[in-house]
Symmetry: C2
Subunit: 131 residues, 2 copies
Amino acid sequence: LDEIPESECWEILKRHRLGRIAVVVDGQPEIFPVNYAMSGRIVTLRTGRGTKLSNAPMSKVAFEIDEYDAATGVGWSVLVKGLAQDATESFDDVSWEARRVLPRPLAPGWREHRIAISPGEVTGRRFRSSS
Amino acid sequence: LDEIPESECWEILKRHRLGRIAVVVDGQPEIFPVNYAMSGRIVTLRTGRGTKLSNAPMSKVAFEIDEYDAATGVGWSVLVKGLAQDATESFDDVSWEARRVLPRPLAPGWREHRIAISPGEVTGRRFRSSS
């Protein structure tokens, strides 16, 4: 396992748009694939009502992206640990920042809410599968 | 969003081998890509010492697989919520079941421990990105 330097983790996050958020619901984590966009170092995503909106705001969440090439066995992952908030209408700095970008939702429908993840820590690693 | 019937979720889980586990560490979820294998309805994976081994056993975890075709905008995800345990050496039924399969670790190195996830609930959904 090779660590990816933090500066490169941010660049990788900016280049992609499909990731996964982990939210804890009464001690039970859940994972959802989501489209996202970076606004500076804020991970922002849109959602309708549901588990993410009910449980992410003001809670610690994880956001992860990864890629794996089955042909070469080489892959990488980047993990953001941070605090989520509902940035739909608030006037704080993070919410303003989050509203500067418009991620495309992964599923159709009215996704009127915006969730912003303020990063506490970002880490990345490359791995190569033992063949 | 279309729900995937539970029986089909199990079939999808059996056909793949790369997923992600979410583990909660002091209230903070983390997500790790892992190779896995199904033994019946037990999700089993191998790991060395580290965050997964220290925090997953006897805790609620999430295990997720997904696929997304950027060309068509069509994707799906399957989520297993369940209880993890260290199945390396224990003599309970779940550990025996878990040791019947040998998932290939995603990264090289000595992965002497085996984690088994007993499913509490499995759900799946298909989604189509709004273009």
